[in-house]
């Protein structure tokens, strides 16, 4: 069993794919298996890129899965994972890249934190223009990440990091299930929330992941799903929040309610993953969200007590008994 499976979904972007594969091949940590999932694209193009890539001095191993029809991104990820076995896995988008130390550092971090379910490294966001088969960087910025953004409360308001930055334990899939294939986008966010409910995400601040974003001047075929499908992202986010609103509350907190509250806080104070970055204190936002929820719960209790005085008295008596009991 290899130590880590790298699942790379691709669709008709051979130049970017070639770069992404090279970024995996250059890793100092060599016990990996790369599973390319050609998501319904022309097989010949992917095969040609891979033939060339395999001519580089090999480390790890590479397999290609050609899907005859295009499926959702998450379904493609699940196919890649189902066809492999490893202790850890990572979803490497075909337009992103890593520093050569990414896997080495991530695996070391997971080994030294046996209770953690994932590790996320710091991210550099690179804006690049892709035209006529040539890609060139325009600018870069530090992607804002902190330990707070990797907690449940930090993540519930919106997606806080791109897949390229995270390595997961494969055992998570048994615990929380695989990616939700019904989601056309934001499947990573939805999965991350389930994952972080199951265990801690370790944060390595060193910026070892590179999240490449095409500028508006780029050829449309090269665009990021997030920048060319902003409306879709908004729609899916609302659908997810609707779904969560219907779920039972856990410890008195409804996931959908929490997400909406956190998202509104975030929207007013923090740009999302698909907008230019401004540094914000996500831990402050998360704490503030918790305070709001606490206050809302308190005000609901007070309102209930006013409407039903008997309930209020019983609640006070219960609280006194609990206190005495302690």
């Amino acid at each position: 069993m290899t130590k880590i499976t790298v699942v790379m979904r691709t669709y008709e972007r051979p130049v970017l794919l070639a770069r992404a594969v090279a970024s995996v091949q250059l890793q100092k940590f060599t016990d990996w298996e790369l599973v390319i999932v050609n998501n319904g694209g022309e097989p010949a193009g992917v095969d040609a890129v891979m033939r060339t890539a395999m001519n580089a001095t090999p480390s790890g191993s590479i397999r290609i899965i050609h899907l005859s029809e295009r499926v959702g991104m998450e379904e493609a990820s699940n196919r890649g994972l189902a066809d492999s076995d490893s202790e850890f896995f990572v979803i490497h988008d075909d337009d992103d890249s890593w520093d050569a130390r990414f896997l080495e550092v991530a695996v070391t971090a997971l080994r030294s934190s046996p209770n953690a379910v994932a590790v996320v490294t710091g991210v550099t966001r690179i804006y690049e223009t892709f035209r006529g088969g040539t890609v060139w960087p325009v600018s870069h910025e530090n992607f804002p990440l902190s330990r707070g953004r990797l907690t449940y409360r930090g993540m519930i308001g919106g997606n806080t990091f791109p897949p390229i930055a995270a390595v997961f334990r494969r055992s998570l899939i048994t615990t929380v299930g695989s990616f939700d294939a019904s989601l056309p986008v934001l499947g990573d966010w939805e999965f991350n929330l389930r994952a972080v409910s199951a265990g801690e995400f370790v944060f390595v601040p060193e910026r070892l992941a590179r999240y490449h974003t095409r500028t508006a001047e780029s050829d449309s075929a090269s665009g990021n799903s997030i920048t060319i499908g902003e409306d879709l992202h908004r729609d899916v986010k609302l659908q997810l929040q609707d779904r969560w609103l219907k779920e039972a509350a856990v410890n008195g907190v409804n996931k959908g309610e929490l997400s909406i509250t956190a998202a509104s806080e975030v929207l007013t104070r923090e740009p999302q993953i698909n907008t230019p970055m401004v540094h914000v204190d996500i831990e402050h936002i998360a704490n503030r969200t918790a305070e709001i929820i606490k206050l809302q719960r308190l005000s609901r209790r007070i309102a209930r007590s006013v409407r039903h005085p008997g309930h209020g008295i019983r609640a006070v008596v219960g609280a006194v008994r609990r206190t005495i009991g302690k």
Binding site: A18, A22, S23, N55, P58, W98, V204, R210
Partner: protein, 657 residues
């Protein structure tokens, strides 16, 4: 050439002196690294190894902590020096260290200083001669380390006679040599007149001007400073080059600082060693049909490879294969259009018909005087009017090139590696296409390159490539920095012959010799190349006097070496390379462009609107940082370099993140 005085000669020139006062750091003792801050790089390396990644970036934090401590000390009392404890406090603040960790790193710094210290030969000689003549010898130093620690360092360096009372260090006396306060303290403690003291040190002001003004005889000897660079670029990856340069500094202390030897034996030797190490790695890990060192960038490595084979290393035979951007492009040319004719004639070129004929490889039908100057537009029209002739010439060039490749077994079935410098990989990708096409996909090329920058990405669809020191996955800033040093590296890693422009019918390559390149080779590059081959061989067979071995030649250390010289050059390196021109035209004729860009005739007439164009020119056509430093060294043009630095912050000397 400056010939240094011997210890006896210095003392003989000052017979009145009964006391020898000597500076401590870089006069009496030095360290086995190129500059004082590199001690912190050694510490960072050891801290990471022992305690993990938290300590990454320690060395820069240590440099910055000292700067802050000095600033704070000066704001309270402009005369006194900073203390080691004050630096420790700032370090603790900067890195958020707890008390035990702060004490641990301060103890480690003292231990590391003791581990790296060595005597400066001149310092050892002059103190020995002075003592033998009955002179009192004392140390006068501007430093933050207490006398007790300096005594330990002196003992470790072999000065066993030294005691704490022989040492006057600024941090213990409320004043410095530099501002003159320390000197009266010394004279008073020794109870001698200024005229009976001879002071020897390495700082023109602190060890020269100031004591001289007080009546003390002085001798300034700054040879130990020759290897210093910008101090902020302090990180463990600089240590291999640092140790090599330190070894040169010590070896050349009594003679003169031979810049060409140091550049060749330092940066270039590391690159050449890396080329060989990388090729060796590939042949050790997969079946390889051929190893081909590209002319001219693989010339030095090919020599080293062959020498190692002759010494019994188990290496396959490797070819030295001549191809160039221009011949490969022409050999692949199948149609000529307005869009691609520009590759024959640059936008700003002035040619003649006869020179144009040499470029396209055939006689051209034209009514113009064959030796009359013609502009680029006219030249392109002539080429297009002769499309059939030109394409025919390209076709026959392709046949000759293939014959040559056949003779070098590049078309033989199997996996071949081509060792070259880099940078976009487009020429090797073109060659790979041709080889694949001619061999029926049986022969496959892989590019093993020193560096690749962002433009290499599309080539990855055509050829497998590896950039040893750098690839397009580096930061945007590093990609641009690489672009700024490409011309430098191509000038340094070269061969005694010119670039290939054609092949004889039997496949023999035709090299074009240009006067500027020949001049540069005679004046500088042959010595650089000789030193590089010697240095690389010593590194690879484990006999390098610095102790650097193949294990030290890593991707990161080679990148650091490239950045140390290419991005934070010393003035002597810029001066040495100011005599080099880079010939880049497709026919490799003409005078080319100087590696160090000429300053504008009248810098005062340059406007702010001109700056983006100047930056672009420096970046693409010259050695960017060498040119900027040259501009900065002249009072009239300094403002241009300053403005470029402001507009493009990655052009600052700092390259360590």
């Amino acid at each position: 050439m400056t010939v240094q005085l011997s210890a006896e000669q210095v003392l003989d020139e000052h017979p009145q002196a009964s006391v020898l006062s000597i500076d401590f750091f870089d006069t009496l003792i030095t360290r086995s690294v190129a500059q004082p801050t590199h001690v912190f790089a050694v510490m960072e390396r050891d801290l990471i190894a022992a305690r993990g990644d938290f300590w990454r970036g320690f060395a820069v934090a240590r440099v910055e902590a000292e700067q802050r401590a000095r600033h704070n000390a000066a704001s309270k009392n402009e005369y006194r020096d900073v203390t080691f404890d004050e630096i420790g406090l700032q370090l603790a603040i900067g890195l958020a260290l707890n008390l035990p960790d702060r004490d641990m790193v301060m103890a480690l710094e003292r231990e590391t200083e003791l581990m790296l210290v060595e005597a400066v030969p001149f310092g050892a000689a002059i103190t020995q001669v002075a003592r033998s003549r009955g002179m009192k010898v004392v140390i006068v130093s501007d430093n933050y380390m207490p006398a007790a620690h300096l005594t330990q360092m002196a003992h470790r360096a072999g000065y066993s006679w030294m005691t704490e009372t022989d040492i006057f260090v600024s941090c213990e006396h409320g004043g410095m040599k530099h501002n003159g306060i320390l000197w009266p303290v010394v004279l008073s403690a020794l109870n001698v007149p200024a005229g009976s003291v001879l002071h020897v040190g390495d700082d023109a002001r602190a060890d020269g001007e100031v004591p001289t003004s007080l009546g003390i005889a002085t001798y300034v000897r700054d040879t130990m400073r020759t290897s210093h660079r910008d101090m902020i670029n302090t990180t463990p990856t600089v240590l291999p080059l640092s140790r090599i340069e330190a070894q040169y500094r010590n070896a050349m202390d009594d003679t003169h600082w031979d810049v060409a030897e140091v550049v060749g034996g330092g940066l270039v030797a590391m690159i050449v060693a890396a080329q060989v190490i990388d090729a060796h790695f590939v042949v050790g890990h997969r079946s390889v049909a051929g190893v081909h060192f590209a002319a001219r960038d693989g010339y030095l490595a090919h020599q080293v490879w062959n020498t190692l084979r002759s010494r019994g290393w188990e290496l396959p035979e490797a070819t030295y294969t001549a191809f160039s951007r221009s011949v490969v492009w022409r050999a692949c040319l199948s149609e000529l259009t307005r869009d691609n004719v520009g590759r024959f004639v640059g936008d700003d070129e002035v040619l003649t018909v006869s020179r144009l004929e040499r470029r396209v490889g055939c006689a051209l039908d034209s009514q113009l005087d064959r030796d009359a100057p013609i502009d680029a537009s006219t030249a392109r029209d002539i080429v297009l009017e002769n499309t059939e002739l030109v394409l025919s010439a390209c076709k026959s060039l392709r046949a000759r090139l293939l014959k040559y490749l056949q003779s070098h077994e590049v078309l033989m079935a199997g996996h071949h590696i081509v060792v070259d410098l880099g940078w976009t990989g487009s020429t090797i990708a073109d060659l790979a296409d041709m080889v694949a096409s001619e061999s029926g996909d049986l022969a496959v090329l892989e590019g093993r390159l020193t560096g690749l920058y962002w433009d290499a990405t599309p080539q990855r669809m055509r050829i497998a490539m590896h950039g040893f020191a750098m690839d397009e996955f580096g930061s945007t800033d590093d990609n641009v920095r690489l672009l700024g040093v490409i011309k430098l590296l191509e000038a340094l890693v070269t061969a005694p012959h010119g670039s290939v422009v054609d092949y004889e019918e039997d496949g023999t390559p035709v090299f074009v010799e240009t006067a500027p390149e020949l001049r540069a080779y005679e004046a500088v590059m042959h010595q650089v190349g000789d030193a590089a081959v010697r240095g690389a061989l010593a590194i690879l067979d484990g006999t390098h006097p610095s102790g650097i071995t193949a294990a030290d030649i890593t991707n990161e250390s080679v990148w650091a070496a490239i950045m140390q010289m290419g991005h934070s050059p010393r003035a002597d390196e810029i001066e040495l390379l100011s005599q080099v021109n880079h010939v880049t035209s497709i026919d490799h004729e003409g005078d080319g462009r100087p590696l160090i860009a000429m300053a504008p005739d009248d810098p005062s007439k340059v406007t702010l609107e001109d700056l983006p164009g100047i930056y672009d020119t420096l970046m693409h056509r010259h050695w960017m940082q060498g040119s900027l430093r040259a501009l900065a060294s002249n009072a009239d043009s300094r403002w241009i370099a300053d403005e470029v630095n402001k507009l493009h912050t990655m052009t600052s000397l700092r390259w360590v993140k």
